[in-house]
């Protein structure tokens, strides 16, 4: 843990984050949903001004979405992964568009792939998919193979080549 990251952690004590050190220059902070914006702003003021990535993880067993903000500082190369957990059935969160303007597109993408609504960011048009009629695709309970077989007819082989490939893959029959 580089020294500038450890003293950044000291200033963040007031938000009581759960700290987990992944690497010598990478620290994961899980924070309660209502404190995320404050943590992000303090980190930005401490020099972690570059929002590398904003994404979402779908923990389907405990029916929660985990929003992940990865901040990077050009000064000392330290990375903070700020994560927070929100409910999966009615996913709501506040936008960080004012802090990082590029987050508008990240949120639009997360809305399209996970269905998380971001209050304050009204530009929620579909970004990558066109005329999408099924549930958000990156959720764990969406099965792409079944969707692909239903919508896009494949090539019928006399011998089911794909199944055979799977068997070879599992080592039941040698290739």
């Amino acid at each position: 843990m580089t020294n500038s990251m450890s003293d950044a952690l000291k200033t963040l004590e007031v938000f009581r984050p759960e700290v987990e050190e992944i690497d010598e220059r990478e620290v994961k902070l899980s924070v309660a949903p209502d404190r995320v914006i404050a943590v992000l702003e303090t980190l930005k003021s401490l020099g972690y001004s570059h929002l590398s990535l904003m994404t979402c993880i779908d923990w389907i067993e405990d029916s929660q979405f985990e929003l992940v903000y990865i901040l990077f500082s050009w000064k000392d190369g330290g990375k903070f992964i700020v994560t927070t957990r929100i409910d999966r059935n009615n996913p709501q969160f506040v936008t960080v568009k004012e802090i990082w303007p590029v987050a508008r597109f990240y949120e639009r993408e997360i809305h399209e792939f996970f269905g998380v609504k971001f209050s304050g960011n009204e530009d929620m048009k579909p970004l990558f998919l066109e005329l999408w009629d099924d549930k958000p695709p990156l959720r764990k309970d969406f099965d792409p193979l079944e969707y692909s077989r239903r919508k896009f007819p494949g090539r019928e082989y006399q011998k089911d080549v794909i199944d055979e490939a799977k068997k070879i893959f599992r080592g039941e029959i040698n290739g």
Binding site: I22, D23, H50, S52, F72, G77, V102, F105, P144
Partner: protein, 368 residues
């Protein structure tokens, strides 16, 4: 003059890859511009959750087509961070050589590629032809020209034979001899100066606010390079400079890429000398046998300085034999989506393909 609606659409020769910009144009000035990505969307993040850790290696280089090696290195480094695996030293040096060779290949291609929007087709012909020399090295090394699948979690797939090292030395000398020709053809050409200098200027505040990384940021005067700021592999054991410029316009972005080529050549030469001889170049990760390795629970983010900027993988594993979630940070995501909407209005039609070329908007890594 009324506004005409133009689809600078997916089928347009000035467009790199499959991407579209819908814009309103008045005369030659762009009034409103909207990026339309998604033409190359294959849902990688979903597909990767359905394949084993090792069998993802064949899927991953196909994310970013012009430069596949950075995908492999990010995936490999992220997994090694989670599984806390120590990669053999020779494998790390070979990885550095492969990454720098890929950087030279891509830089020559984009420096030559600026000839497309400008009309200087001779430069693009030279650029692509010289890039082929490096693809021959990759072919000798990994058997494939573009998708090498060479860097795997735990090291590299095959050892680098002395014959390939000899080939690398010869190719580096050849490319170094070609650089003055590019200098005279492109960067001493007065019309190129008049077309690129002072166009599409991006100040440092705009770049930092937009999250631009790579050449777009270094053209505004700051020496921000992940190989220096957050060194991975052995970048702290080789010395090289990071060229920067001050006026942040289209010309300095292309010229910086051109000046990075000699630096990469210097890195490769130092790496080739410092590389120890060893025959063990990869280490199995996690436990389990054959393809079905199991990576312990955890999450990690590994990022790398690609030719277009910061490129990173965020990998989450829940202790099973398949990745739980893999998120890809495309290097040209900010300048491709947000940059077009904010900075293209006000420019001319001729500058739109130049923005896409100098900002290196690469469609497959935006759509994933």
């Amino acid at each position: 003059m009324g506004e005409t609606k133009l689809f600078f659409g997916p089928n347009h020769p000035g467009m790199h890859g499959n991407f579209s910009v819908h814009m309103y144009v008045e005369g030659d000035i762009v009034k409103k511009a909207r990026p339309v990505p998604g033409f190359l969307h294959r849902g990688f993040e979903k597909l990767m959750e359905r394949r084993y850790w090792y069998s993802n290696i064949s899927l991953i280089p196909r994310i970013c087509v012009p430069e596949p090696d950075i995908n492999e290195i990010c995936y490999a480094m992220a997994i090694e961070k989670i599984a806390k695996v120590e990669v053999p030293e020779r494998a790390q040096w070979i990885r550095m050589i492969v990454l720098e060779l890929a950087r030279i290949a891509n830089h020559i291609w984009t420096v030559g590629g600026i000839g497309g929007p400008l009309g200087l087709y001779t430069a693009s012909h030279w650029g692509v032809a010289d890039r082929d020399r490096i693809l021959d090295i990759f072919e000798a090394l990994s058997g494939a020209r573009v998708y090498h699948m060479y860097i795997i979690p735990g090291g590299v797939r095959k050892n680098m034979t002395p014959k390939i090292e000899e080939m690398i030395w010869k190719t580096l000398d050849y490319i170094e001899s070609r650089l003055p020709d590019y200098e005279n053809l492109i960067f001493k050409n007065r019309i190129v100066h008049s077309r690129l200098r002072g166009r599409l200027i991006l100040t440092r505040e705009q770049a930092v606010e937009m999250g631009v990384t790579g050449v777009g940021l270094r053209a505004t005067g700051v020496e921000y390079d992940i190989r220096k700021v957050d060194p991975y592999l052995f970048y702290d054991r080789v010395e090289f400079e990071v060229p920067t410029a001050t006026d942040g316009d289209a010309f300095s972005r292309v010229y910086l890429k051109f000046k990075e080529i000699p630096q990469s050549i210097k890195i490769i030469r130092q790496a080739l000398e410092k590389m120890p001889q060893a025959d063990r170049v990869n280490v199995p990760i996690g436990r389990g046998n054959g393809l079905r390795r199991i990576v312990p629970k955890g999450m990690a983010y590994a990022h790398v300085e690609s030719t277009r900027g910061e490129y990173g993988f965020f990998v989450v594993s829940d202790g099973k034999n398949k990745p739980y979630r893999v998120a890809v940070r495309g290097a040209s995501y900010p300048q491709g989506l947000y940059g077009i909407e904010k900075y293209l209005p006000g420019t001319r039609i001729e500058d739109v393909p130049i923005w896409l070329a100098t900002m290196d908007v690469c469609a497959p890594e935006i759509d994933r």
